[in-house]
Amino acid sequence: MATLRLRALRKSYGTAEIIKGVDLDIADREFAVFVGPSGCGKSTLLRMIAGLEEITDGDLFIDGARVNEVGPADRGLAMVFQSYALYPHMSVRDNMAFALKLAGASKAERAAKVAEASRILQLDAYLDRKPKDLSGGQRQRVAIGRAIVRHPKIFLFDEPLSNLDAALRGQMRIELARLHRDLAATMIYVTHDQVEAMTMADKIVVLQAGRIEQVGSPLELYHHPANLFVAGFIGSPRMNLLPVRVVSGDPAGVRVGLPGGGEVVVPVDSTRAAPGTGVTLGIRPEALKPGAEGALAGAVRHVERLGGLTLAHVAVTDSAVADGATVVAQIEGSAPVRVGETIRLTIDPGATHLFDGEGRALPHQSRHPLAA
């Protein structure tokens, strides 16, 4: 049982406010991911939870007890650092046993727990090595092992995979997700990589400039982004955003005019969109498909062939509203598009979004089945 509650949490360095009032609940056994661009405060927030940064204002509760003034040594949390931060003068075994030794565990207990952790992480063969004799992936596993042996209330991960190469990162992502299931532990994970966030999280917390933009499950954020920032941040390739004008409000949604003269009905609440208002239309790249009746037309400027998929960058021209805007369409790998040709793109209205003048999403009329 380990829950975390943040209430109006703030952090300032002098006059610069880094964390500007964060309220958040993380449930027992939840895998929460803090995601956001660099400098958004996600690592600072994690370090405040860890106790490595003082809390300027607000309250932090672990299992219902306020811990603002409790030092990192006494919060019962474990942290995996981006730099691994292994103790260079200790063997892998001693690295993992260090916390237990400090806690006064017996030699037998230490050996048993280190053996268990090294079995889970397949580190048995390396127990007597020093960190400098390990590869990056092995060091990362030792850092995780050091956290596991303590049976902490909450695991904290600060961009743990960013020093690994792409292949190893993919593998470690799966291992961490498996570890989360096996240990049934509460985990908080900080990353700037939205793929890591999408693939591992039960709950994603999107941060920008010291504030929470949105909290939700990965698919909730993907299908129901609360604002332009989340819409642009979650999803790869990122959502196409086009400035458009409202034509009319229909029972089926809001009809907006497209660059090039076409129209599309976005299935969102139409009560807040008066005709003529400038809004932003968001279209996921996979919602654009080549088709003779397509509402959008433009010249193909660039083609990225990824094998199974093709990304076509299309300049939607001939428009008073959005002159020179480029959209990315994610189409079949074998689609015969060529740079320079003009194509028409159909829009799947179900994967479109509308954002008002302040960047807030107009609510969809129905929830996505996977993001309920």
Binding site: P72, L77, A78, S83, Y87, F98, A99
Partner: protein, 272 residues
């Protein structure tokens, strides 16, 4: 590596040995003089019959072991105390700096620029009042304070090399400040701490100004032992050289044994 020409290698070797000889020459001359008889000692001749006469005279006249014991106790005491005070100070300055840390460090170092004689009278009076004149503890205190700025500075630069992440990881593992310093910081900076301690030992051993002014007999270290041979009756070079040789011999041997450690410490962190 580029292979150097033979003449260049010979040139460098000659230059290196030459420099070493120049630096070592005073010690060599002292050793040679100490092996001469008094009449020979005032001549620059190197053709003489070696004799241990001067050593015999010196050891007969003064209790060398008592002086040496004082030197050992005072040098070790001053070093241990300086490290005990400097480690926490350098830790705080390196890992929990404030706006004033830099200026505090500079101020500490600036006290080294003060001529010692400028504070001789106040210190002397203070020592007399406190009953510290001619006591080992008094000299230990003076040496500690004397070396503290440089010890703090050296430790500070060594501690700065340790990534903060590692100490934070220790804190997350349940280490309080004491355990953090003992289990992580000190083992990681051991070469640096050792060379700092060695330097402090050497400085304490060689210090003459305070030991001559604040001690007379009971706590007098080897520097006072040497000084006692420059007597009003005139200089007896052979005896003076013999006294100096036995006074510097222990620290010389010690320095020679620990030179690898010293060099390793002083270049610690220079190459990552």
């Amino acid at each position: 590596m580029v292979k150097q020409s033979l003449s260049r290698r010979i040139g460098i070797a000659v230059l290196g040995w030459g420099a070493a000889f120049v630096l070592f020459f005073p010690l060599l001359w002292m050793l040679l003089t100490s092996l001469k008889s008094e009449p020979e000692a005032v001549t620059p001749s190197i053709a003489f019959t070696p004799t241990l006469q001067a050593y015999g005279d010196v050891l007969a006249r003064a209790d060398y072991l008592a002086f040496a014991l004082n030197s050992v106790i005072i040098a070790i005491g001053g070093t241990v105390l300086a490290l005990a005070l400097a480690i926490p100070a350098a830790y705080v300055m390196a890992f929990h700096p404030t706006k004033r840390t830099r200026s505090t460090l500079l101020w500490m170092l600036s006290t080294k620029m003060l001529p010692s004689v400028g504070v001789l009278v106040p210190i002397y009076l203070l020592f007399r009042t406190l009953g510290l004149l001619d006591t080992r503890i008094g000299l230990i205190l003076v040496y500690t304070l004397m070396n503290l700025p440089i010890v703090v500075w050296m430790l500070f630069t060594f501690f700065k090399e340790v990534p903060n992440d590692i100490l934070e990881a220790g804190r997350m593992d349940g280490a309080r400040t004491g355990a953090e310093v003992w289990h992580l910081l000190l083992p990681l900076t051991l070469p640096g701490v050792a060379s700092t301690g060695l330097l402090s030992l050497i400085l304490c051993w060689n210090e003459a100004f305070w030991s001559l002014n604040l001690t007379s007999s009971a706590a007098a270290p080897l520097t006072a032992f040497i000084a006692s041979f420059s007597s009003p009756q005139g200089l007896f070079f052979a005896k003076l050289s013999a006294a100096s040789t036995v006074a510097v011999a222990p620290i010389l041997v010690f320095g020679w044994l620990s030179q690898r450690q010293l060099v390793r410490g002083l270049t610690f962190g220079a190459v990552k």
